[in-house]
Amino acid sequence: MDPSLLLVPLHALAHARAGDKGNRLNVSLICYRPEFYSYLAEQVSAAAVAELFRARRPTAVKRYDLPALGAFNFVLDDVLEGGVNNSLCLDKHGKGLSFLLLSMQVRIPRKLVSPTPASREVALDATTPA
């Protein structure tokens, strides 16, 4: 791998939240910093997410891009083992599957991975007037 790149879990670059509707899951993926967006756009493709969730046998995975929010929305069909009423899984809603997405490994330029904890970024954007 190019020495200027670093392999990191998505968890270091973005946060996520999952929601369920029937047997369909959506997972949002939100960059901690705008500079990460293009790297995620390239690597966290619908196909890569389908591969990550292969144990749940998605029948379709679609990615919606929201550049204005620095975010993506993934919609995965038929990955909830029947959905909340019928799944035999412990987490019937699939609420924790957001962290399956965040376990994906991505390559990012070393210089972009700040030593500042991401939590500082979150706190800052709450208090900095636009």
Binding site: H11, H15, A16, R17, G19, D20, K21, G22, N23, R24, N26, S28, I30, Y32, Y64, L66, A68, L69, G70, A71, N73, V75, G82, G83, V84, N85, N86, L88, C89, L90, P117, A118, S119, V122, A123, D125, A126, T127, T128, P129, A130
Partner: protein, 455 residues
């Protein structure tokens, strides 16, 4: 400035939500002295179906039994300060909920304050189960043509809520409505928005979308230690949206509470349960959030603008709930040396037994665990350092079926491992619960004749 915006606070985001969250929201609304409304969202698909099952029993309560737990602590304050309340507590019996609240308000000296009840979502009032089972239902596990239909409800929009408020209702109780309608109703009422003013209806729907899950936009369901820390995480304040006549809004939260309103919390909630961000379908409008702009405008304050609206869908979404069967779960734990191998052996034993005794039941196995079997109530929650390898291995069996006795028979096999399974198994828990099966379809608007009754 106070009179140019209307403030909408949220007191609950689901049926099992905290019942003490609304108090600080109401205090904040009173202090702001702007026109204000308080909404409660308490009605999941399953909650409504369970209410319908109770309502069919003689003397059973068809509305949300927790209604008074949610409303009680703030009712008097709201009524004395002109804060009107909108909640979908009605579930299977909105009129029953209205009458129960009427009694409470009469006793409290508020007999002159009208209660508005929104009716019409219950499709079983107008359509027979026979007819419904032949609708193009999607998502059910079983064949709807032979299932027992328990509930069939349309997702109503905000128009009847606004009408109830127009007619002076101080409290509005609904059954099934689209969750964001709980906020759009009071906004359309207050600002007199036209029901074809798509951009404003979209903005009001987005306001409702932010509010409808309670603390999920104010630092609840957000914390990830070291990455996304939340101050006062045990007591996040519930959200308040300050909405202007053009639909732009500022999201904040109850004063003097914990939690966090930041660009990050707002972004997580804006996409929650959204599929196509350019076309979020509601009964009132098709919402497009792709052009939404967010700006941090102060501590725990985020400004939101740019929601776009397209014409509302021609049809309404309806959810049909059918009696399901029974779900069984059984768990047993193994810890210490060779725990994982013993857990795997327990699963092999259960598989062999169930294949022989109950081959028709689907089975699912998990191995769960970190620190439980060796722990103490006063000790640290960590695996014992002297025990290398897997900390705890808790075997979980899950199964389901239409015959309760067979499901009970299956989970009993987990308890039988106490004497027949691998060495050192402990902590058995068994649970058998009734399941419901839901399906959805699109229906013509005429089938859901939304109307308001004042009590």
């Amino acid at each position: 400035m106070a009179n140019t915006t209307v403030h909408i606070g949220c007191g609950a985001g689901f049926a099992q939500d905290r019942t003490d969250a609304a108090g600080p929201v109401v205090d904040t609304l009173i202090a702001a002295a702007a026109p204000a409304f308080l909404i409660f969202e308490t009605l999941a698909e399953r909650t409504l179906a369970q209410a319908q099952l109770r309502h069919q029993q003689p003397g059973g309560t068809g509305y949300l039994p927790a209604m008074l737990n949610f409303v009680g602590p703030v009712l008097e304050k709201c009524l004395k300060n002109g804060i009107r309340i909108i909640g979908n507590f009605g579930a299977a019996d909105p009129l029953g909920a209205g009458r129960a609240l009427r009694e409470v308000m009469n006793r409290g000296g508020f007999s002159d304050r009208p209660i508005g009840v929104v009716l019409g979502d219950n499709l079983l009032e107008r359509v027979s189960p026979e007819e419904i089972r032949h609708w193009p239902l999607e998502g059910a596990v079983q064949d709807p043509t032979v299932a027992r239909i328990v509930a069939a409800n349309a997702y109503l929009g905000a128009e009847s809520i606004a009408e109830a408020l127009d007619r002076g209702a101080q409290i509005v109780i609904t059954g099934r409505v689209a969750d964001p309608a709980l906020a759009l109703g009071p906004l359309a009422h207050h600002f007199n928005w036209e029901w074809t003013d798509w951009d404003r209806l979209a903005a009001g729907t987005l306001a409702g979308h932010f509010l409808e899950c309670g603390a999920q936009v104010t630092g609840g369901y957000f914390a990830d230690p070291g990455m996304k820390d939340v101050p006062g995480v045990a007591d996040p304040g519930y959200p308040i949206a300050e909405v202007a006549a053009d639909g732009s809004l500022v999201l904040g939260k109850a004063a003097g509470t914990g939690g966090l309103v930041s660009l990050a919390t707002v972004k997580e909630q804006i996409l929650y349960e959204i599929h196509d961000p350019a076309a979020y379908l509601t009964p009132d409008v098709t919402l497009d959030i792709t052009g939404v702009q967010l700006a941090a405008v102060g501590r725990d304050r985020v400004a939101v603008r740019g929601a776009r609206g397209l014409a509302r869908p021609r049809q309404l979404k309806a959810t049909v709930c059918m009696a399901g069967g029974w779900m069984g779960e059984g768990e047993i734990s193994y810890a210490g040396p060779n725990a994982l191998r013993r857990a795997e052996l327990a699963i092999e034993i259960l598989q062999a037994r169930l294949a022989k005794l109950l081959p028709s039941l689907p089975v699912h196995f998990d191995i769960i665990g970190y620190s439980s079997v060796f722990s103490s109530s006063s000790g640290p929650r960590r695996p014992f350092p002297e025990v290398a390898g897997v900390p705890d291995a808790r075997v979980r069996l899950a199964t389901r079926g239409s015959d309760r006795r067979l499901v009970e028979r299956a989970v009993a096999e987990v308890e039988a491992l106490y004497t027949t399974g691998p060495a050192g198994g402990g902590g058995v828990r068994l649970q058998v619960t009734e399941t419901l099966d839901t399906a959805s379809c699109l229906i013509d608007r005429e089938l859901a004749a939304s109307r308001v009754e004042l009590l």
